[in-house]
Subunit: 250 residues, 2 copies
Amino acid sequence: VNALDQIAIVLSHTSHPGNIGAAARAMKTMGLSDLRLVNPDVFPSEIANARASGAADVLHGAKLFSTLESALADCVYVIGSSARGRDFVGETTDVRTACERAMQTATTGKVAIVFGCEMSGMTNAEVLLCQTLAYVPANPDYSSLNLGSAVQVFAYELRMAAGLREGYVAPEFQLATQAEIERMFAHMEIALTATGFFNPHNPKRLFPRLRRLFNRTRLEREEVDIFRGMLRAMEESAKTQHAKVRSAKP
Amino acid sequence: VNALDQIAIVLSHTSHPGNIGAAARAMKTMGLSDLRLVNPDVFPSEIANARASGAADVLHGAKLFSTLESALADCVYVIGSSARGRDFVGETTDVRTACERAMQTATTGKVAIVFGCEMSGMTNAEVLLCQTLAYVPANPDYSSLNLGSAVQVFAYELRMAAGLREGYVAPEFQLATQAEIERMFAHMEIALTATGFFNPHNPKRLFPRLRRLFNRTRLEREEVDIFRGMLRAMEESAKTQHAKVRSAKP
């Protein structure tokens, strides 16, 4: 059993069909599929279809209910999403903690995350059906997330809590060894001396600064090779320059 | 300085003005305000205004640029949001780690989070301007978050990384002491014996089971008082019942 299949997203009395579509899309991107709608104002709807984009399967699989109680009947744990505390005397927590608990409980039964209507959120009667009330930490001056965005944040935290954190990885490159890096610095000292930029009798802080930079970058073997090539070219042009200067002397 | 003020959200070549409005709203809910638009298809727009809802100030404060380079000129660290790895050879990481790094760096200068156009994301040339490429872990079969939702997840993780995790808290109730709970169990044994539900000579597993339940709930003082009241009422009706039975005998 995929634990994310045990999570139901329940939208109660949603006004805007676009938000139902956005919720379906948010769910599918995070691997959720159980969408439940309690008395939506408009459903089905072309606007919902458009906003669902590639999540038509989740949207069309949505189950309709006339009461929140019936939508929650098979759930063993109910989390309400609310931006306000609303005299709730039960457990309250942030979305991250709530989603961690949801995924722990999902091993034993269905878990619901409930979202109230856009304008006023859940009613007091709906809040009483929740075991935990969860908030997305937000700007106290404007804490009103769009419904689709709120579903996205919960769905994202559920996926993270399920441990499904993989994405793409950058190709791996071979790091340079300390010996390769030391030969590069020795070569650099010779080449920079040849060009006249570095004076070994008055070294100042040049090489400590360069070491600081290259230590921070964790040099790769290919990069050391590039620098060695640049240093060889530097030595060549310094030689040519000297030869010109010599041949120009009377 | 509020570290979140150091974060710029940069939307490059956005097609749908609604997504610009949704991004502004997502930003404001999380306390971000520096919105930068690179060659948006349509801006300003009534559709953007409507989707921004209460974030008109962020939307109207958006700065317009003709190239991504110019939008990033004052930034010391650039994170690109991308659902695909796209041959990027630099650092790649998930949104949570990227946002933690962003907030660490924000103490020393402006940090940009770049979002490419809706259909194809950032161009390869745009990706090359990023020091880090970040992804929202997603369903491999459908990883395409709506642009506004992607901005919401990044903005949320930035706020979490900034340590601004407060929300509402449930009112605190006085927990019951062990002595109060033990007196409740003693009373329960007497009352349940009086009703005939509990037989002290054949106790079975009743009290261990009840202790397991009440230990899990972390009983509050007021709740112990409620139970004591229920137990007293139980004792009373058991007495009345016995009296009736006695008086009914011939």
